[in-house]
Symmetry: C2
Subunit: 269 residues, 2 copies
Amino acid sequence: MDRLSLNQITTKAWSLPEAVAGCAGAGVGWIGLWRDKVAEVGADRAARLLGEYDVRVSSLCRGGFFTGIEPDGSEVDGLARTREAIDEAALLGADVLVLVVGGVGADGLAASRQRVADAVGELAPYAGERGVRLGLEPLHPMQCAERSVLSTVDQALLIAREHPREQVGVIVDEFHVWWDPRIEESIAAAADRIAGFHVCDQLVPLTDTLLGRALPGDGPIPHRRLRSCVDAAGYTGPIEVEVFNAELWRRPGSEVLADVVAAYREHVA
Amino acid sequence: MDRLSLNQITTKAWSLPEAVAGCAGAGVGWIGLWRDKVAEVGADRAARLLGEYDVRVSSLCRGGFFTGIEPDGSEVDGLARTREAIDEAALLGADVLVLVVGGVGADGLAASRQRVADAVGELAPYAGERGVRLGLEPLHPMQCAERSVLSTVDQALLIAREHPREQVGVIVDEFHVWWDPRIEESIAAAADRIAGFHVCDQLVPLTDTLLGRALPGDGPIPHRRLRSCVDAAGYTGPIEVEVFNAELWRRPGSEVLADVVAAYREHVA
């Protein structure tokens, strides 16, 4: 239980103060924060609240979008925004800033991938100077066009290894990588590059590419097996439960967190 | 143009006789058939029509579902049904039977993958005796749970190589594999195991996991690049345009085929 972290997207109805207090009340010592929720209260107040409740930040979501476009197709300066996110992560005491690297930009897949590698190269020292590790998160291939040209752990590792390990790591999120026939070897190869382990399940049938997630145990993902791989690779950090699910989001945060704790105990811990 | 094949799912409104006549009329010498459309007229009549119109069968869709479940969750004897499909492919003069191997069965991901490998081992000689090549088609990872625990060309190749090359090959379908960071190396490695090349594009945003396809040129898939890889690997067979798209399906087959020909000329040929 001391490794469980609530990724706050799971309790989307909760504000940041509610989520931090909720975690503390439920004995959950870690939280994964989202920048929009931090912005609602301000980063300084968020940092104070975390200290008061003694809840640590497992990761901040998110930087990235280096290919020039956001999921809705609008333009974005991913480098500038990610520098802000690195500063915020440092202020919040988050060891890891999750990167969603961006989808296929106007110049195509190959060029978009190169932009990502270049951006990580530009930002890694900046992050390192501030004590923040960049967490490259491969996203499910169904999100390649819109959100992430980074699709596998192997691919993330190739970029990460160009930089010092304390500056760039890899996030293993079950939803995104469980189907990968190479995932066990990839996790073993990632070893001390693993900067986070996110758990959840997949809805079957998968009717929504973004919200098709469920609590661990409600789908086909082999949690114990992936957990044992991550353990064997040497990862000892927090384990985030991160569920995008419209039905879950309609329920009170406290109920959802209770279900998160139960699912984690039964299927992951 | 002599390599273009119409996968008949693209002109779903057309019956088999309409599709065969339509291909002949448009100068398209190949067609990819589906078993439900063959069943509507009977395999013998289908074979006669193909002969009369001088249209050859690039592939028959489909055998598989070896993990015991169909996409709707119902049980199925994939081995028995695939033997029937092999017989039908032989009768229709189809060189290739496409296999959709099945999703995660009741015994989980790892066991389901083993079932697939075992089934291919059991069926390969049966297919070989009838002059039919089994085409292992990796499906997009978003279809792993429901339709195919086979997700990458590399993974398909590992199974195919256990058997003679004339018995088991691999289908490269752009929609399913374009996002794969290893796809270029995988296609090169597949070489003379490539038993088919299917082209289409992906809708952005991707709002449907099954019907989220478009004609080549309307999405992010780098057709020329993938085509050049498949060429370099030595594949010289038919190229199927296979599009699952609800809007396309509502249009008259002749209009759709004209658009298929135009899109193929502009983006693939």
